[in-house]
Symmetry: C2
Subunit: 428 residues, 2 copies
């Protein structure tokens, strides 16, 4: 059916009123499209290269690097091992108390002065500075108590093998925590202290993302075939540790900023024409979607191509996927997916595809400032192509949404723009 629909779109009469408002450039580009078999052949090569390079060169980890200052990262750990760590912490405290020394927690500092950008890894990590949190001190007694309480709550959650939200955690002892920022902050402390991810502590964020396409996985034991998820797609589960056995015959992962573009791709079953997995967090990426993308990328070893708005905000979203956010830098290796390719919509696309003037939006001063700030970021500077695109954006002071492509017809995105991008390997 999707095949039929597509052909009709390519060659049939266009009822979108294009005849009366001809867009010669759009037609011209449509004619440049080669047969799908050719495009697929080149995509297969790219995919194979990506898989062999990731299996040949072992992924660099923090321990492979000889860093002058020791650094700290957390990792995913199983229930038994986290349980053991908490028991050990409790035992240490008890022994310390019994030997009349009181007790104290050693908490890694998460302040920006203790953060470090590691270019080889392309992400932010924590240096090794810690601070002591003694119970027998007026200034730290509250935080030490909260830390002990959070440890005991997390222990209970893990023993029951359930998952809870930060909000649930807060509500179990409102009297002590007072407000949620306090329990949230200590939860991050505990995560660093035990050296495990927040997912390993079974404290999860709410879900926002959806996935559709050539992916099969298990969600809490249920087999999910994402080619059979209709147009709505499968909601990405909040508990990544219940996700297992990912399988795919896709050639790439298409990361989409927005819901509307996702819907277009899902309805047109784009993944049947070009085997891919389509994923979106519907705007600002949430933790669950970032974990899911990371998981797909590392287990399936597929290239990731990103489709975002042509504005500074679109790039910022990419940066969160790639480098993480600063306040969770201790967990960056589990949350970040380096090496995402910027497929589009890029500032240079606006002229290349002759997006009409009235579909481009003028950038505000704030937008321009955000663009200039991005030019100073390491993850941008590393990629010459990105720098050029951003400079174009700031110079022309023009931005555009993915939907601006609808001006050439509602299915232009899936019928011409993306296939042509694939054919020309037009990503940076």
């Amino acid at each position: 059916m999707s095949e039929k629909k597509r052909r009709q779109g390519e060659t049939g009469p266009s009822p979108t009123g294009k005849k009366s408002r001809p867009s010669s450039r759009a037609e011209e580009l449509r004619k440049q499209l080669k047969p799908d078999a050719d495009i697929l052949a080149s995509l297969r090569k790219m995919c194979a290269a990506s898989q062999s390079s990731s299996s040949a060169s072992k992924t660099l980890t923090l321990s492979d690097l000889n860093l002058s200052s020791a650094c700290r990262e957390v990792s995913d750990r199983d229930n038994a091992s986290v349980q053991l760590s908490i028991e050990r912490a409790a035992l240490d405290a008890a022994l310390s108390i019994l030997s009349s020394r009181g007790f104290s927690f050693d908490i890694p500092s998460r302040s920006s002065s203790n953060q470090l950008y590691v270019p080889e890894l392309d992400r932010i990590v924590l240096r090794n500075k810690t601070s002591s949190r003694p119970f027998a001190s007026l200034s730290t007694v509250r935080k030490a108590t909260i830390t002990a309480r959070v440890l005991s709550l997390v222990y209970a959650v893990i023993r029951r093998n359930i998952h809870v939200t930060k909000r649930d955690l807060f509500y179990t002892d409102v009297k002590l925590f007072q407000d949620q920022t306090q329990s949230d902050a200590v939860l991050d402390d505990v995560s660093c202290m035990l050296g495990c991810t927040r997912s390993s502590l079974h404290v999860v964020a709410s879900e926002k993302g959806v996935v559709v396409g050539r992916l099969v996985f298990y969600d809490d034991g249920d087999r999910i075939d994402c080619t059979k998820m209709g147009i709505g797609g499968k909601a990405i589960p909040p508990n990544i540790d219940r996700v297992s056995d990912l399988e795919s015959d896709a050639l790439f992962i298409l990361l989409v900023e927005k819901d509307a573009a996702f819907m277009r791709l899902a309805e047109d079953r784009f993944y049947n024409r070009f085997p891919c997995i389509i994923v979106t967090a519907k705007g600002q990426p949430d933790v669950a979607t970032r974990l899911f993308l990371k998981r797909m990328k590392s287990e399936l070893k597929l290239p990731v191509l990103a489709l975002v708005d042509s504005d500074p905000y679109g790039l910022k979203i990419l940066s969160v996927y790639m480098c993480g956010s600063k306040n969770m830098s201790y967990d960056s290796s589990n949350l970040t997916t380096p090496d995402i390719k910027w497929l589009g919509v890029r500032p240079s696309d606006l002229d290349k595809y002759q997006v009409p003037e009235q579909c481009r939006l003028p950038m505000t001063d704030q937008d321009v400032k955000a663009g200039k700030d991005l030019l100073e970021e390491d993850f941008v500077k590393r990629n010459e192509g990105w720098v050029k695109e951003l400079e174009t954006m700031v110079r022309t002071r023009q931005k555009a949404e993915i939907q601006a492509l609808s001006s050439f017809g509602f299915q232009y995105l899936t019928e011409v723009y993306l296939p042509l991008k694939m054919q020309q390997k037009d990503w940076l």
Copy 2:
């Protein structure tokens, strides 16, 4: 597994620290719980009653009522019939032009003076006032042109049998529409004019909701079994007209305000213990979730029980599901689900379940005002129980979130609170 987990939760040692912080009321309530078989028997009776009453008494429609002023509603219509209506409108315009009378659209007024609350239907509808929109008038030429353009765009979308968003529609002719509020407003006009829903025009909103539990349906031809959707659940599709063949052995629909509560219910597979369908729009209900709920309720004839925060905002969310929002009143019969029962968390629950003081939040003056405003609303006044609860809320000036129940243990919601509500048929 869910069975095992639950038993452990009920009788096993509680590792959530409840021993050290006893909550005698919580334990007392837990002991009041009867065996599941008893509760299920009474739920089955309720469900059967709901199904026989809805099949015996035909649902009241606007045409059944003898209203003094004629009223207008839109309905779902198939592609062919919408296409025909648009062709007829175009033909009328052409004939009118050929007979030298120019052309004009007759547009139903959507202003509040043309709205009417119909108590028998428990929803807002439009009166029959229309206004003329002639092309040959300076004050309406722009709107008449936009109307013609939207008609032609919608026609194209329907002929291709695809779905687009409002944003897509706007971008096809930015020069004419200038900003999206203009094309959006005319889209609503066109919907009223043709007498069909916005879904029938194939213009859809983005999706936000998720569903899990005892429901099987088809999303664009793919069979979706919502008991096999893991913890993440199935994303509710934006295009309700591609949803078909709903089947269910559930006894009720559990409508949940928040994501976190949904996650708890999904992880504990609550629907295996009490057969139900669990659905959430993650806050403010979107059109897709409202359509989906309406669809489930009318096809499966199941009672709907709502679990929302105990605050004015929670009730407002219920009102949107039940009575619709004012600016889409012309479409209220397709979007609204009357007869939703308020299960909890209700103001009276705070004392009944002895929710600790520190888990209740003081209401702001604005909250209190919102509560008082709700007391004036028709949908509240109709239900004596609701009035009493709201009066309690406003008097005590206390509110509480669903998560406040976590103070008795993370699984208190699924293990005690909800089962007890079912057992006691405690809804209004």
